[in-house]
């Protein structure tokens, strides 16, 4: 009798274990579902980077910097048969962190690569065009800045009438300095979008005793747009 009881209790023991496990899982889910739903939004934000689980070590914080070879021959040096430009042309939009232009000004012997986007890493490498301004070739305000102790050290030497040329892989854009400007770093009026085509260059005011809140720069008006390729025709 006792042996029979022992044998018959084996499935009971098994079923009891499974029943208890299911019960505990169900109760745990029941208890945690409400707090989890509340925390889910925060968890999704805090641990949102599930597709890029790279431990940061380079200090670039996920930024991909791309260098490009951009030729900068003076227009006069280009052979006549190749001097075929278009006033409206195809614009190649750069990716964030990509070098997409070279800024040259012979009047102050300036030649600096221009990156799309503005971060401290990119400012180490050249001038940066804020991605809230328009791409060269589009209508509006092109805003470029750089450090005063490196690439834009001579920017304050620019005077109205100086010529600035920006070379890209899709065209050459020439501007003329029209106005010198000074503004506070909190004043956004010069970096806001404009209807007229203009180029705004600025840097920090040189000040060795710490950083300055003042910005100094120039506003340039568009002289010419020279695209290498015509704009793609769209079907009506």
């Amino acid at each position: 009798m006792a042996e029979h009881n022992q044998k018959s209790s084996l499935p009971v023991y098994l079923l009891t274990g499974i029943f208890l496990l299911i019960l505990c899982v169900a109760v745990s889910i029941g208890i945690l579902i409400m707090p989890y739903e509340k925390a889910q939004t925060y968890l999704n934000i805090v641990f949102m980077d599930q597709n890029m689980k790279i431990a940061p070590s380079s200090g670039l914080n996920g930024l991909v910097i791309k260098e490009n070879e951009i030729e900068t021959p003076p227009v006069s040096d280009i052979p006549e048969e190749q001097q075929k430009f278009y006033e409206n042309g195809k614009i190649i939009r750069p990716a964030f962190g990509e070098q997409y232009a070279v800024l040259k000004c012979d009047d102050i012997s300036l030649s600096v690569p221009v990156y799309w986007g503005s971060t401290s890493e990119l400012l180490e490498r050249g001038a940066c065009q804020t991605s809230s301004s328009v791409v060269l070739g589009e209508n509006g305000n092109v805003v470029i800045d750089a450090h005063v102790n490196t690439f834009f050290a001579d920017l304050p030497k620019l005077t109205p009438g100086n010529t600035i040329v920006l070379y890209t892989s899709y065209g050459i854009f020439t501007y003329q300095v029209s106005e010198k400007i000074q503004f506070l770093n909190t004043d956004k009026k010069y970096v806001l979008p404009t209807e007229e085509d203009r180029l705004t260059l600025y840097t920090c005011e040189a000040q060795v005793l710490g950083t300055s809140d003042n910005r100094t720069g120039v506003i340039c008006t568009l002289v010419s747009k020279q695209f290498y390729n015509p704009a793609e025709e769209t079907n009506p």
Binding site: A2, E3, Q6, V12, Y13, T16, G17, F19, L20, L21, L23, C24, V25, V27, S28, I45, V46, F47, M48, D49, Q50, K53, A55, P56, S57, G59, N61, G62, S120, L123, E124, H147, V148, N149, T150, C204, A206, Q207, V208, L209, G210, T211
Partner: protein, 295 residues
């Protein structure tokens, strides 16, 4: 009906024991392991936080040199990796001092004597070389520069972000919680003991059955906690942390992984203990079966 009467109290007690064991074990782990200064110190060493923090300081002052003209060496010669390690550990010890009511407010600082001397020397030298008047404005600028540099270094050294936690009042809330945490832990330990005694009393007619119920408790509580923990570790979930500053990322992710690893290890041991209890129960049952026919 008899079987239900026989099993129900034991099932109920085991059910309660499972959750009480989870609570007790987690609270003991928190108290002894991951809510301690030692845990943060381990993460600091394991994740090389001092090295990462120093690199961040280095990058910051090198980048700043482009806009201020002050060479990065003025700051970097006065700050070492060891200073950063002391700073990180100091931010942790200050936080624990505050949590344990040893200090009234959370205020974390570092020794900046060398930095202040270095910056002052640079400015004085600059002023002398360039004929700059050392007037009140000059002194204010020197002080402003020192304060700015110190604030940045403190910000970087606070890798576990206790400063931010304190700013938002969460450190005070944590302190209030820790005040009642020990009481909760005591209640949990006593409750677990009481349930164990009750289970023992229920099994007094068939003492070997206690191994079965304890085995179930161990296995189920082990599964309930270690499975989600192993999922988090296996999928590397914490590495999806959105803040990508090397020192903060390593500190936060390193600590969360350390904590999850501790919990999963403890509950895997609990689960294995449960399996051992079940095996013991099986051996005893088999022995009884073998002995009974001879009686």
């Amino acid at each position: 009906m008899t079987k239900i009467k026989y099993y129900f109290p034991k099932i109920l007690l085991t059910f309660l024991l499972i959750f009480l064991l989870i609570g007790t074990e987690l609270s003991l782990l928190a108290h002894q392991s991951f809510l301690t200064y030692k845990a943060f110190e381990t993460v600091t060493v394991q994740q090389h936080l001092d090295e990462k923090a120093y690199t961040a300081v280095e990058n910051y002052f090198k980048s700043r040199a482009n806009s201020t003209g002050i060479p990065a060496e003025v700051y970097l010669n006065a700050i070492t990796q060891e200073n950063m390690k002391q700073g990180i550990l100091s931010s942790v010890s200050e936080a624990f001092d505050y949590l344990h009511h040893d200090v009234k407010t959370y205020a974390f600082t570092m020794d900046f004597t060398a930095l202040e001397a270095s910056v002052t020397e640079f400015f004085n030298q600059y002023a002398e070389e360039n004929g700059y008047q050392k007037d009140e404005v000059f002194q204010q600028k020197v002080q402003a520069n020192i304060q700015e540099a110190e604030a940045k270094i403190l910000y970087i050294a606070d890798t576990f972000k206790f400063g931010t936690v304190a700013e938002h009042g969460w450190l005070t809330k944590l302190r209030q919680f820790l005040d009642i945490f020990k009481k909760i832990m005591t209640v949990l330990c006593i409750s677990t003991g009481v349930i164990l005694i009750l289970l023992l009393l229920c099994c007094k007619e068939n003492f070997s059955e206690l191994f079965y119920w304890l085995g179930l408790t161990g296995i189920i509580s082990g599964l309930l906690i270690s499975v989600p923990c192993l999922y988090l570790l296996g999928t590397d979930y914490f590495s999806g942390f959105v803040v990508k500053d090397a020192q903060i990322f390593s500190a936060v992710v390193g600590y969360l992984q350390y904590m999850t690893h501790q919990i999963s290890t403890a509950f895997l041991i609990t689960g294995i203990t449960g399996i051992i209890f079940l095996i013991l129960f099986g051996i005893i049952q088999k022995a009884k079966r073998d002995i009974l026919p001879r009686l």
